[in-house]
């Protein structure tokens, strides 16, 4: 099993979720995060002073999935989240040793 962490632009959430569900991923967990990267932030005015705010609001999407879904899932996120502009984000793939469904106690692929 694999554990996939994607950082995306917030307004792409609905499209990404749809794309993932289309390839058969049913569950995801989403977190609001702040991103620092190549994309530059914005300026804020404060009574005559200007400040550079260099973090950007992003969403982190975590998905646990079976190995066979990995490529399609990466592909799905890739195309749903892409705008072609800097700051579109990343997908990280980690190995997942095991998974459990709390309600039933099932583990492994069945737990996803």
């Amino acid at each position: 099993m694999k554990f996939l962490i994607a950082i995306i632009k917030p307004f792409k959430l609905d499209e990404v979720r749809q794309a993932l569900s289309d390839v058969g991923v049913t569950g995801v967990t989403v977190t609001e995060v702040q991103g620092f990267g190549r994309q530059k932030g914005h300026t804020e005015i404060y009574r005559g002073a200007e400040y550079n705010v260099d973090f950007l609001p992003k969403l982190k999407i975590e998905v646990a999935l079976t190995e066979d879904l990995l490529d399609q899932a990466v592909q799905a996120i890739q195309s749903a989240a892409s705008t072609g502009k800097i700051g579109d984000g990343k997908i990280f793939v980690l190995d997942l040793e095991n998974a459990y469904r709390i309600r039933t106690g099932e583990s492994g692929n069945n737990a996803l």
Binding site: I45, R47, G48
Partner: protein, 435 residues
């Protein structure tokens, strides 16, 4: 000026003394309006000013601001009852040029029937109390995010005695500035210069917040600041309109001029930002409004609507630059810019009162035999005396406070935030809903 002077044609200072009220009879309409104004001015401080200031600090210090405004309200009220009203507005005998006496301690003689001018003395005293409350509350912006709570309490007690009561008596209570002819309709000297200077003194004595000026310290909640700002605008109708101490054309004109001052201050600051930064900000426009209001305050009862508008425009531009000079150039961390907005505004307004009171500029005119130049001179004396008195008094007060309870938090407390350090509370627990 707190009482309507045209009524009897007497010098203003005489009419300001509550004890001259013997011959007056109750005017119920004036009473209704001043009770309303009292509510409006208290509303300016809590929640108005508290929210305006509170939105500008970081989340970890939000309650410290709200708490300080609230506790100041309570403490000043107790002092007012005890002796502050008396020191401000009773006859000071031999010392009357400088300070009132103690005859009215514990509001002795303020009965259900006693009058002050055309209104019950209870109403006059209560209305004046709301001014006494908001003045030290303005000061806390100067040392926000790094002051000890006990220091704020100590400062309030000492400063009200050494700075507020004497200046209030000198200008409104029949003291020598009043006698000299200084015109301050609603608090350019007593409130705004006084508070602005005290905040500057505090900022210099306590030093900047940790991280200033390199670290961004963005307002944690601009919607809160907006809400407070709007409350200040509305409440100011009571502040300036109520200072006519009557429901009449003087009060109406004061409100109109005040409103135009606020509008012009907002527009001027907005224009400055639009030109210099390419975009106008919310914080900018509301700061311009406060600058306009603070500056028009001393003049509001002596000018017309165009005068109010002109004063507001000047205020917006000059206070904009004052903030930049004080904070960015001189690197003085007057946290919420009390001096450049209220101090500078109060000084300008006090002096400009001498200008825009001129009938040629739509004003209501000068006292018999006084020219514009003379009045400007008198006003300048009033401003300078207030600056000097407030600076010295504030210095003494903060030194004493530092010695007695300590002014400033240590580094770790500053990092943790005043809310947890002094009040064991946090402003927001939004996630508590999930539990």
């Amino acid at each position: 000026m707190k009482r309507f002077i045209a009524l009897l044609g007497l010098p203003a200072f005489l009419l300001m003394l509550p004890f001259d009220a013997a011959a007056d009879t109750l005017n119920q309409a004036d009473t209704a309006w001043i009770m309303t104004s009292t509510a409006l001015v208290l509303f300016m401080c809590i929640p108005g000013l508290a929210l305006f200031y509170g939105g500008l600090v970081r989340t970890k210090n939000i309650l410290s601001i709200l708490m300080q405004c609230f506790a100041i309200t309570a403490v000043v009220s107790a002092l007012w009852l005890a002796f502050l009203y008396s020191l401000s507005f009773s006859d000071g005998g031999g010392m009357n040029a400088w300070i009132g006496g103690l005859d009215k301690s514990f509001l002795a003689g303020v009965t259900v029937d006693s009058l002050s001018g055309t209104i019950p003395e209870s109403v006059f005293s209560m209305f004046q109390l709301t001014f006494a409350i908001i003045t030290p509350a303005l000061v806390i912006g100067g040392f926000a995010e790094r002051v000890r709570f006990s220091a704020v309490m100590m400062f309030t007690v000492l400063w009200m005695i050494l700075a507020y009561a004497p200046l209030c008596h000198m200008v409104w209570g029949g003291g020598w500035l009043a006698e000299m002819g200084v015109k301050d309709f609603a608090g350019g000297t007593v409130v705004h210069i006084n508070a602005g200077v005290a905040a500057l003194v505090a900022a210099l004595m306590m030093g900047p917040r940790r991280g200033f000026p390199t670290t961004m310290m963005l307002p944690h909640n601009m919607t809160m600041t907006f809400t407070g700002a709007a409350m200040l605008w509305v409440g100011w109708f009571g502040f300036n309109g109520g200072s006519a101490v009557a429901a009449n054309g003087s009060a109406g004109m004061a409100i109109l001029a005040t409103h135009m001052g606020a509008a012009a201050g907002s527009l001027a600051w907005m224009a400055m930002e639009w030109i210099r930064h390419g975009k106008p900000s919310m914080l900018g426009i509301v700061t311009g409004m406060v600058a306009g209001l603070g500056t028009v305050t001393p003049a509001s009862g002596f000018i017309g609507p165009m005068g109010g508008f002109m004063i507001g425009l000047i205020a917006g531009v000059v206070c904009y630059w004052s903030v930049i000079i004080i904070k960015q150039k001189l690197k003085i961390d007057d946290s919420l810019d009390v001096f450049p907005v209220h101090g500078v505004g109060g000084i300008m307004g006090t002096i400009l009162t001498g200008v825009f009171a001129a009938p040629a500029l739509g004003g209501l005119g000068f006292d018999e035999g006084i020219t514009m130049i003379q009045q400007v001179g008198i006003q300048t004396v009033g401003a300078v005396v207030t600056i000097a008195w407030s600076a010295v008094a504030s210095y003494i007060v903060f030194k004493l406070t530092d010695a007695l309870v300590g002014l400033r938090v240590d580094q770790q407390e500053e990092t943790e935030g005043l809310d947890l350090v002094f009040h064991d509370e946090r402003g927001y627990n939004f996630d508590s809903g999930s539990r």
